[in-house]
């Protein structure tokens, strides 16, 4: 497969809109929290690959009918953004809908999923999901876009483009999982709702200090996207749980010792951080951002950005001089939760700043327990799911999401960095991981 510009494998593209089957929302105004607005420049792009049996015998109208039934219970993402008198954006629940893109691919599913070393790993998946951002015409921009690409063999790729302003990746996964339930005629008791606005937003208290995990950019106006200084490329690799356990023990040493155990995600962070720091010798990577789900509270039935904690880890000592174990302990114990001060920084400023969160520092996002394989279409699970977070800053993003390869459970680690250092990082990572 050569992704040349002459002939794209994707053709027969048709764009339409799908929305709730009944009047929902009733033009209600859904307010956005400070955290929502802080994440507005990022987009979560997930591609689910299904075998032919999942959609067999369904016409496009049949598929659309399941979507209409689904969105009856999830109508907030079907709205459009408006600005209140103070200039603060909110969502008008007007049933405008989700943009649906139908496409065909001239390759079979298996052929498409075969790994090719020389390609940017994200590139082929990017063809199956929309890259549209919100704005410049905010009135008519859909926050959610879905692409249904039919392969030659009958398999189907479902590409979900989800504006991060609505919620985090866990929320996006829960949202689309409801569609799977709708195809099996199961519906939730209550429609999806958004987390309430914190009352403290009205008090506009100034934060104690400026958060270090975000960067003020823009002003972007109504076009919610940032252009990168350099081209970003992605390299991804798969690691089974067994391999992760080996990595873990290679970092922590003997289990009998009384040292604190570094969990698999943090172990991966350690390795990748060190590789990147070694490659980028001039600009020593002394600060990283870690995004993890808040394990305490349950956010079921809610679309929100409050469930993800944004933590900043800083080291005064150059990273290359630290052992993996020390780095791991630093990540575990010295991470500063900046979620609250980010929200305060957003709410206290009347000008409503534009923040860049992912990619301001090298950012690690932990999605290893995201329910992406729970999307069950008429009894069929996806054969593969690929996650990506687009429109990120120049420092890069490392995404860890669940993966299933050769019938073996594990994770896929997706590293997005500027194109000038990605190949070096790739070779170094391969070397480091093979040693474990």
């Amino acid at each position: 497969m050569v992704l040349s510009n002459e002939e794209s494998p994707i053709y027969d593209i048709k764009i339409s809109s799908v929305g709730p089957g009944h009047i929902s929302g009733q033009d209600a105004a859904q307010e956005l929290t400070g955290m929502d607005l802080a994440m507005k420049l990022h987009y979560i792009r997930t591609v689910y690959y299904f075998p032919a049996q999942a959609f067999e015998g369904l016409t496009i109208i049949d598929i659309k009918e399941t979507i209409f039934n689904w969105l009856d219970h999830a109508y907030i993402p079907c709205g459009r953004f408006r600005k209140s008198d103070s200039g603060r954006p909110y969502i008008k629940c007007n049933d405008c809908g989700v943009r649906l893109i139908e496409a065909r691919c001239n390759m079979g599913l298996r052929e498409w999923l075969e790994p090719r070393d020389h390609d940017d790993d994200d590139a082929k998946h990017k063809l199956l999901v929309s890259s549209q951002v919100l704005g410049p015409d905010l009135f008519y921009s859909p926050p959610v876009l879905m692409q249904l690409t039919k392969f030659k063999c009958g398999g189907m790729a479902v590409g979900l483009s989800w504006a991060h302003v609505l919620g985090d990746a866990f929320t996006a996964a829960s949202f689309i999982n409801l569609w799977g339930q709708a195809t099996r005629k199961q519906y939730p008791a209550q429609p999806l709702r958004m987390a309430h606005c914190n009352n403290e937003a009205q008090n506009s208290k100034s934060p104690i200090r400026e958060p270090l995990s975000v960067k003020r950019v823009g002003p972007v106006g109504d076009h919610w996207a940032m252009k990168n200084e350099t081209n970003m490329e992605t390299y991804s690799f798969y690691a089974s749980w067994a391999e992760l356990t080996r990595l873990q023990s290679s970092i922590c040493g003997d289990k009998d010792k009384e040292n604190q155990q570094i969990p698999p995600f943090e172990s991966l962070c350690t390795i990748v951080w060190q590789c990147v720091a070694k490659i980028k010798r001039d600009s020593d990577v002394k600060m990283v951002t870690i995004c993890k789900k808040d394990s305490g509270n349950s956010f079921e039935g809610v679309i929100t950005n409050k469930a993800q904690r944004v933590k900043m880890v800083k080291t005064d000592v150059p990273v290359v001089e630290l052992s993996p174990m020390e780095l791991g302990l630093l990540i575990m114990n010295q991470a500063v939760d900046e979620t609250k001060i980010i929200e305060e920084a957003m709410d206290s400023d009347n000008e409503l700043p534009d923040f860049l969160v992912y990619g301001t520092n090298l950012t690690f996002v932990d999605l290893h327990d995201a329910p992406i394989y729970d999307l069950n279409i008429r009894g069929h699970e996806p054969v593969y799911v690929h996650c990506g977070i687009n429109n990120v800053g120049d420092e890069g993003v490392v995404l860890v999401f669940p993966s299933r390869e050769d019938h073996c459970d594990g994770v896929r680690v997706s590293v997005t960095l500027p194109e000038n250092c990605i190949s070096d990082v790739k070779s170094m990572l391969k070397k480091e991981l093979s040693l474990c």
Binding site: K14, I15, G19, I61, K64, F68, D95, C96
Partner: protein, 484 residues
């Protein structure tokens, strides 16, 4: 006429006088006929001997028998089915506006005009558009129109077959009306192909006859059934809106985009004696009025290309007024056959009085609610319905089926009358003996009306009807302006 509460005895007396007058005049012919015949028969029979009396009686019996046998058998409307669109074809206003904005980026004024139309249209956000309209840009090819035609027509016919157990091989007459879309082979051929109708079926495909074509088809079926005893007829009324989409910016031509929606109906008519028992209605009369000889009426609804070459349907500003005039013409024809004699006498006396005595007398508008129990007025648009209500002096309840059909389904053109009839049935208001008046208006300018008599009370809930899911929410209050 306003009802006075019987407060005083004079009011009560006046009421009884009115009732006596009406009863006497309404039945005057019957009284005269019976008394004359009885007197003549008695006189004659007394003077005749046995043989002559027997001969006279037998002659009378034979003449009556010949009369009844040769009388064309009544046409019954056995049942009908309306297309119930899938909710996947729903078109909320917000989506309609977004679609229009994305296609017509430069002309802000047309967009604002369409917003104002939608706000005042009386349509809800549950009306449905053809599948091709949901695409950006809309898919308006012949293939898309055919897809819509198959979707609407086949669903309606399947529903009718389910309701009536009709065998496609038993269909003798097939009439389909669809104004704008006319492919080759025709839509009737499409139906015959799908349902494998007999090769000798009498089929007719009516095009170009506008929103009133539904009743023209019913009239044609009636005439054919009169000439062919013991036959079944299927009438399909629909408007395929895919080719109707106007892509230009002229205001008078943008209205159909905002009002026309997906819809269709299939009606089963028969003159077979065995269908009489289960038929829902008896088709009493169809009256057609054509005003094309008047220039203004002729140009009122006109399909033409605008200055940019976009094809659309231009609606004149005088549409409601012309509609009113066409209705009055139709009333003049249908009035005598349906109005009770008392109303006709009053109308005659008032007209003579206006002509010879005093022009300033108000013209007497007959009270049609005395002749009919239910009214199905084509849901052409809010202004049209208001005008009809004013002209016929109907109450809000009489006009409710039209308003609610416009709200739930939009303007479905020739099939709207059947959605309205279905509404009345779903509300449990249709009882045996009820008289229904269907009035259709359309380009030409035409006003066609049909009179139906309910043959058997219709039980609720009406299975498989288009109102099945939502009848409990109706009637709704429709505000003058819905703010978008």
């Amino acid at each position: 006429m306003p009802e006075n509460s019987p407060a005083s005895s004079t009011a009560v007396q006046r009421k009884y006088l009115k009732l006596c007058y009406r009863h006497l005049i309404d039945n005057i012919l019957s009284y005269l006929l019976i008394s004359i015949t009885a007197t003549a028969a008695a006189v004659q029979l007394l003077r005749l001997d046995l043989l002559q009396a027997l001969f006279s009686s037998i002659s009378i019996i034979i003449i009556s028998a010949v009369y009844f046998i040769s009388k064309p058998s009544s046409v019954y409307l056995v049942d009908y089915a309306c297309y119930n669109p899938s909710k996947a074809l729903r078109s909320p206003f917000s989506f309609f506006m977004e679609n229009s904005e994305m296609i017509r980026r430069n002309e802000r004024k047309s967009l604002e005009f369409q917003v104002r139309i939608l706000e005042r249209s009386g349509l809800s956000e549950e009306t449905c558009l053809a599948p091709g309209f949901h695409y950006i840009p809309p898919k308006l090819t012949t293939e898309d129109a055919k897809f819509e035609a198959e979707l609407v027509i086949f669903s309606a016919i399947d529903s009718l077959i389910r309701k009536t157990d009709l065998d496609p091989g038993d269909v003798d007459v097939l009439i389909l009306n669809c104004s704008v879309f006319s492919p080759a082979p025709s839509l009737v051929a499409m139906v015959i192909n799908r349902y494998k109708l007999r090769s000798d079926v009498r089929c007719y495909n009516l095009t170009g006859m506008g929103c009133s074509a539904g009743l023209i088809s019913v009239d044609l079926a009636r005439v054919l059934l009169r000439n062919h005893p013991n036959s079944n007829a299927i009438v399909i009324s629909t408007e395929i809106i895919t080719p109707n989409y106007y892509e230009g910016n002229e205001r008078e031509m943008l209205l159909p985009n905002c009002l026309f929606r997906l819809g269709g109906a299939a009606v089963f008519l028969s003159n077979k004696r065995r269908e009489r028992r289960r038929a829902k209605y008896k088709l009493v009369n169809v009256v057609r009025t054509h005003k094309a000889s008047d220039e203004k009426s002729y140009k009122c609804i006109h399909q033409e290309e605008d200055t940019e070459g976009n094809l659309g349907i231009k609606l004149s500003k005088d549409l409601s007024v012309i509609g009113g005039e066409a209705l009055r013409s139709n009333l003049m024809t249908i009035g005598p056959s349906v109005l009770p004699a008392s109303e006709q006498l009053l109308f005659l006396l008032t007209s003579l009085g206006r002509k010879f005595f005093n022009r300033k007398w108000n013209p007497y508008v007959p009270d049609f609610t005395r002749a009919f129990d239910h009214f199905c007025i084509h849901a052409g648009g809010r202004a049209v319905i208001n005008e009809m209500q004013k002209n016929l002096r109907l109450s809000a309840e009489h006009i409710e089926p039209s308003r609610m059909t416009l709200h739930r389904f939009g303007n479905t053109s020739s099939s709207s009358l059947w959605y309205e009839l279905s509404y009345i049935e779903s509300k449990g208001r249709m009882k045996k003996g009820d008289m229904v008046w269907q009035i259709a208006l359309g380009s030409g300018f035409k006003c066609n009306s049909a009179v139906l008599k309910c043959n058997r009370s219709v039980e609720t809930p009406v299975d498989g009807g288009p109102w099945e899911e939502c009848i409990d929410r109706y009637p709704v209050h429709i505000p003058e302006v819905v703010k978008l």
